[in-house]
């Protein structure tokens, strides 16, 4: 059975694993205060062209999201997020667990624009409501779409003009920044956002997300904020070593380009087979609309997730590629489907 269920189902890229193995029995200081983390942080600051940036390593995305959001907000402040945003749906109320309301914004393509934000600010001038203070976006979004440079610049401009913090969930940052037409770099993100993270878990690492906080004014005591949430890894050097392996020679981007290429081949192939897409995705998640009659055979062929059931006869499924997806899996799925559609 071909694996298209998600992008975190395979251990790690061999080069990343090798970096962990090479640590051997050498002792390191705990909690991220080690030379591996120092080197990975330096690499990230260089790539971000942000020598003042603070970098902190998390094990996973939910902890990264909730810790950063809780650290950036005051109690009465709320988070604006797309209704489909990961924090609004699939994190079991973790942001609310830190005491903050999410103000959801319906948006068909999973992306926020200044036009979404303005009426929310107007409405929330009422002091019986939370004060909107942070805008959460994911890049790529939960439905595979991508903010291009102009779109992120426009959001950033609006946020700064209105005292809003801009936080970017980068669990799938690599596939977004390598997607055609995105045009954004890490250095752009360090200028345009107030905090973002570079996702490792979904792009070749065993685990790990590297949070970047460019502005020194927002950096103090972030380690304590992480510790308080149980979000500091004792053997932090494991995270540093992995990010060093991913970033030092561009492996991180190569893996993402591969995942994107596999998804695009699949998207094109499925379209040619007559399966329409919920929307065209430039990244490693695609969303074909299948007649329900096809599902049993599809379940034999590959693993996937059910995304939506728009009507009684059809299902939107999600197919995800990763660094570990092979051309054989893609062509195998397409070949297997051809006689069925």
């Amino acid at each position: 059975m071909y694996n298209f269920r998600n992008d975190y189902s395979v251990s790690a890229h061999p080069a990343v694993l090798e970096a962990v193995v090479r640590l051997g029995s050498a002792p390191f200081p705990g909690y991220g205060s080690d030379p591996c983390c120092r080197r990975a942080e330096a690499l990230i600051r260089d790539l971000c062209q942000a020598p003042q940036a603070a970098v902190h390593f998390f094990v996973g995305g939910t902890a990264a999201n909730l810790t950063a959001i809780a650290a950036l907000l005051r109690p009465w402040e709320g988070v604006i997020a797309p209704t489909t945003g990961h924090i609004n749906v699939h994190e079991a109320g973790s942001v609310e667990a830190t005491g903050h309301k999410i103000i959801p914004v319906p948006t068909p393509d999973g992306k926020l624009t200044p036009a979404h934000l303005a009426p929310i600010l107007e409405l929330h001038r009422d002091t019986a409501m939370v004060l909107p203070r942070l805008v959460y976006l994911s890049q790529a979004t939960e439905i595979g779409t991508v903010y291009n440079k102009e779109e992120l610049e426009a959001l950033s401009r609006f946020c700064r003009a209105h005292g809003l913090l801009l936080f970017l969930d980068g669990a799938r940052l690599a596939t977004a920044l390598t997607a055609p037409g995105c045009g954004l770099t890490l250095a752009d993100l360090a200028v345009l956002t107030d905090a973002f993270y570079i996702g490792g878990t979904k792009n070749g690492a065993l685990m790990g997300e590297a949070m970047v906080i460019p502005d020194p004014a927002l950096q103090p005591h972030f380690f304590r904020a992480m510790k308080r949430q149980g979000a500091v890894l004792a053997k932090g050097f494991l995270l540093g070593a992995q990010f060093e392996a991913l970033l030092k020679d561009g492996l991180y981007w190569d893996l993402a380009r591969h995942a994107n290429a596999m998804a695009q081949t699949l998207q094109t192939g499925l379209t040619e087979l007559g399966l329409p897409m919920l929307h065209t995705s430039p990244t490693n998640q695609i969303f074909p609309l299948a007649p329900n009659s096809l599902l049993p055979a599809l379940e034999e062929l590959c693993s996937f997730e059910v995304w939506d059931r728009p009507d009684a006869g059809h299902t939107v499924i999600r197919l995800v590629t990763s660094f570990a997806t092979t051309r054989e899996e893609v062509s195998g799925l397409l070949s297997g489907l051809r006689p069925l559609v």
Copy 2:
């Protein structure tokens, strides 16, 4: 320089790392719903003689503590813990972050007894105070001491008689259960406590703590409780594979016995050199009292942590051994110190 700073400074035991490497590029379901976790859970249930127990894998101890405590309590309930308890000191207020007060109990040896608990229950009959509901203990304690079977049975009896939940922080469980005179097994813990965890991070794993909840009545929805705290590892199979490697042939206990033996050799040797101990520890943490004049040379010889400064002329230091400590390190430290004391 010899490394006695802590027991989480070295990557993982080779057999554990090998188990991770062997996962190769095989795909697994996410979030712990994989065969590696299933096998590790089965092993743990067997060792605990608790076929009904729920087992959940955490990445680290702080997340394990805060998640379990928050999941077990109602909002108005508090936690009784030794003043020296890890949750009361070194977790940056993580239990309070979940909304619960810790009622600290001064106790010289880091251990709680029913005699500590009774007056707290009496005092808190006042409904303007939190309701004490959960007793937190660590085994081994933060100062290396161990509850023996009679002591834990007495605590457990008291807790059950008074409607208190008993929660055992097992970050250093392996060195406790293998310490001479402890006399407790995992099966005992499954009978005597309401939840406990089997620490991996400090006993040979890259990371990982296995939470055991024996009583089905306390098990429902614990996964959601973990997810909400950002405490679920996407590639949960990494945790399952490590615990399987540690537990299937008793490696877990061998590593702890080794760490204990190294610490005992060191403790005996230092005592013979004239350094008194804060107290005699049966586990892998020892606490010699050194004249301050010795510290500069000691800092050249080995890494350690300062534990206390009981007077102007002396310092209590903490020396910790682990699965990775070698006889050469122990004898090297003793040899290096001999001419200095």
Copy 3:
């Protein structure tokens, strides 16, 4: 200027105030443990035909909502509420401040039905999401509508069949239960809901909401839950005395009938003047749609709140009556408007 801004703008009904004045300089035990509260509780239990019910007095509705919701839920559980629900909009994130997500349900008339709930339960079988556990409704709703007996029975049946708690915000309970066609009594609420409160602030009291928890299984430690939120009044006897005055001879219902009658007269009159209603309301809040050109004159005539701006030329305003609204105010407003429309 006529006052139609809200139903909490006038001190208290003279009979209620007199009950407070009569307390004189007599000493009472604190925090609600006094004979006034005991008598008011007995009255409420009688009216509810619920001798087992627990009754607790709050000062205001937000504290009542957040305390009850936090007390009834476990950490991973969420609240289903209408998008327009008071807790979802006008309580500054107070439910989220207790750590719980609100799952908002768009519903044009502000009322929930089983048909709203079923798909939410289905969707939230995903364990990465919060567990829906409590249904919040307000009676009357924020837009003046009312659940009748059949509707509440249907909701209650659904909730009980699916393990959901049903919580009723009764800040405007009096006007709902006295509205034509409602058909519900306090005794019905004690059977159909898991907790509800009898609003005093908006129906003639200085302040006060009486929380009723019929099921003994849900009652333990509720006082501590209140205390923890700062929601216990030191001089609790002030609340007991007021509820006794309101309830002992039916004044509570008389005041609500008066408020409803005033609103109905106004609603009929405005409709006759050509102002359509957003919807026909049977209670003390009405929502006429006014051309924007009318607003300046209207602002001269009376106080009100702007509710919505459905298009560039119109505004929905909210007019609220209360125990203190006089026939002169109603006819005065209608007379004043007549030449203008």
Copy 4:
């Protein structure tokens, strides 16, 4: 039976109640945006000689404490408080409910000094611990003692030199500031603290505490912080009217002087009868040590609270006077006791 149980057992001073009655049926804007509150705020700013100060009215002390502390702190910050502090004992974990740890300081007289704070700051340089950020004190303390001007100045200097906020719980502020030897004024408090409140509940009001935040930098969005905690009174004008009545002609201070005088007469009388005091109190709470054999007769004579049981034969009781205590009650209690001791 004479009433010495507490200072919140009698409704309100007649002049305060009269101010409420005089509000009649006039309509006021809600949530504190009314002329009564405006006038009371102006009075308070004048008395504080702090024209820039923000003033907010709470119903009770626990809500005032938890709201201010939560509003002033960032998530990783903790509160230093005397072990006997009200927030640490008698508020059911309300500060922890907002996510913050209290660092308790044992102090025999209930008062903090810079000497208590310095070692706490040193210890908490460890980033695995919370960051101490706010110092909580109560004036008068829970055991009736009072900070004099020099003591508060010393604390304030230390706090400002070390980046600590100073928060003063003024539930019994009136009896403290009128106690002999205190030497502090409201204007001093506005200079020396970062936030404090002027307690009404325990000094003649039905209910109410007036929070003063002198520094404009700490003021923004405090109303939303209150709303989020359910701590805003709908009919806020009731609080404004009461504080206006208390403060405009100095009634507030007269009532406190009376309460203090009654307590001092009682303290002197009891001492002369041979009952020693736990400590000499200059305010309205006194703590005689009684042989247990006296308790049954005492319970016949007056209401009181048991404070402590220092040994098997004695009990410390708490006797509290208030604005409503009469000379007859004091002399009656002394006369009643005379034949018994």
